[in-house]
Symmetry: C2
Subunit: 359 residues, 2 copies
């Protein structure tokens, strides 16, 4: 089933207004949330809307937050999200980073007291509008075991870096620091297929190929999968994301990060406030003239895209290519939603008195 | 065979003075080079000294560089290394980054016209001395194939992030963006052992377990190993390192990066000057009081180190633990060097009239 982007955005906005968000915040949040669907990260899009509402029902989201800067220097700031939706806090913080970059060359903002912010990439991409490189990091509910750990101590802690180009479309890396994202497991669960080794471990910490292992107390594995394949690097990157997002800002880190699902209680002894993000904005002309930079980026992108592919593959991709192709397709053909997601959204609409979209 | 650190440093310094470096530069370079041996990255240490000398003999290193800032904003600078040793250019650039951070909260320096700079970590760790987070990136000779590419377009492009703690030793991530570093292949070559799948591909782009495959025209693989295990992420990270180091500064990038080995000619049509690095310095008190930050870092480190390990493993490590343990050991017992490395260094000493160390 395919749905029109603007109708889904409108539905999302109306739901958020119903729970008490301002019109402006609801509109921002809906755009950010639907960006995930548009770019093919279906697990982080409108499918999560009822999850956010349940968090609000559990008094874990402040729909009228006073988001503010609590500390700053010429190139840095700490933002307190006041328990608001990450979907609203993140755009505020990214704007602060870009404002700093305009004056100091770069801007770096660490955020505490926030909630899940959708896909990392959409925030990094904001910077592209002003010829800046954008960086977006966030910590997340602990589902990942560091190398050699039986315990889950990290989230899928994504890294996004968006870099402007000239005639070429921009370079947009948006990656979880795990081998595979949770969304991919859900697909395997539905298809009753096995996961490749290196994605997950079971609750005893043994390598597992069951897509249900994480649900049963196991864990996602850091990028690399095992020590022999460099999982200590994926773990290290996820750790850096956690520290930049939360230890710099005063948010919860590691196993203390509050879970996204409302049926799991937050840690009884938090070490900080809410969850944390980290944003960076780098004016490219703080290094060299923007035109020069962009023409070399075009050259970089062309050279890599035109590289000779291995047998059986059509071409070498540039980070961001697959998502951009999906976005073009979905803008034309609509957003595909699975039956259970549609049912869940309809129920949510019924419950809150918001009309579901017309087919 | 074990050798005394200060004797090896002295030998290195004397060699560098012989080829024309100033006493000060030779001393800096020797410290940086030997830091690799001290921390267990034997492939990047004194074993490379004769490689640097051969580059100088090929007129590809300027031993009396005029290293200078060519552009700056409050939080950024571009440094031109004037073809100098990366071992000297990098400490200069890191100092500039830290100076910027002292005033603007953070400092970011992109470097062109440099050469190989030893291990990434040693430059990032400079920041720790001033309660700063240090970041160090560099591009390198193309030996890595992006996901789906038959061609080698990237270097092992390392990422290092050093984060200060309080009572705990600092967090020091220092990782190549490949599954395995070239040094590990050399070990397998000597032992005539196979490499795990996911480390390398042969010259046709097929997965290979031969440790000789890279020498025979194959390539190292990005962290992740293959698409199913997320190699597009390792490729994306290596690409970001390349772009920050070289497209921002005006150095060569991708397949244009000059090779470290003197017997391979640089690309006949370079797209920039020399190779590139990128450094960052972040004052932790640009975000929150340093004591507060460091006590939470201590808590972070303790929690992760005390995590329950999987069966068969003693404990969960913190990035930097293995290198620090080796450093302690080697400071006491000396630096182990392989027979062929010792022979090579003795020959170098003979050739340039520098006394080899006393045993």
């Amino acid at each position: 089933m395919h749905f029109d982007l603007s109708q889904l955005e409108n539905f999302t906005k109306n739901i958020l207004i119903k729970i008490g968000c301002s019109e402006k915040d609801a509109s921002t949040a809906a755009k950010v949330l639907l960006a995930a669907d548009l770019r093919g990260v279906d697990s982080h899009g409108v499918a999560r809307l009822s999850g956010y509402v349940r968090l609000w029902e559990a008094n874990r989201i402040n729909v009228r937050p006073d988001i503010r800067i609590t500390h700053e220097t010429p190139s840095t700031a700490v933002v307190d999200g006041d328990g608001g939706l990450g979907l609203v806090v993140a755009p505020f913080a990214m704007k602060v980073a870009m404002g700093k970059a305009n004056i100091a060359g770069t801007g770096w903002v660490s955020v505490r007291n926030s909630n899940h912010y959708g896909i990392a990439g959409i925030h990094a991409m904001e910077a592209l509008k002003q010829d800046m490189i954008g960086i977006s990091l966030t910590n997340a509910s602990p589902l990942v075991s560091p190398t050699f750990s039986k315990e889950r101590l990290l989230g899928t802690n994504p890294i996004s870096v968006a870099i402007p180009a000239g005639n070429q479309p921009p370079f947009v890396l948006d990656m979880a620091t795990t081998t595979a994202a949770n969304g991919k497991l859900e697909i395997l669960q539905r298809k009753q297929k096995e996961a490749p080794l290196g994605w997950i471990q079971d609750k005893e910490g043994r390598p597992s190929s069951s897509p249900f292992a994480v649900k049963e107390g196991g864990a996602l594995l850091p990028l690399g999968g095992d020590r022999e394949h460099g999982s200590q690097k994926g773990y290290g990157l996820g750790a850096v994301v956690d520290i930049f997002s939360a230890v710099l800002s005063g948010a919860n880190y590691g196993p203390w990060v509050p879970p996204f699902v409302a049926f799991l209680e937050p840690h009884p002894h938090p070490v900080g406030e809410g969850l944390g993000h980290f944003f960076g904005a780098i004016r490219v002309d703080a290094f060299r003239p923007a035109d020069e930079f962009k023409s070399h980026m075009d050259n970089w992108i062309k050279r890599f895209r035109e590289a000779e592919p291995v047998a059986g593959q059509e071409k070498v991709l540039i980070p961001g290519d697959p998502e951009r192709e999906l976005e073009t397709e979905r803008r034309q053909q609509g957003i595909p939603l699975l039956e259970p997601v549609v049912e869940d959204l309809k129920n949510l609409g019924d419950r809150l008195g918001v009309d579901w979209v017309q087919k």
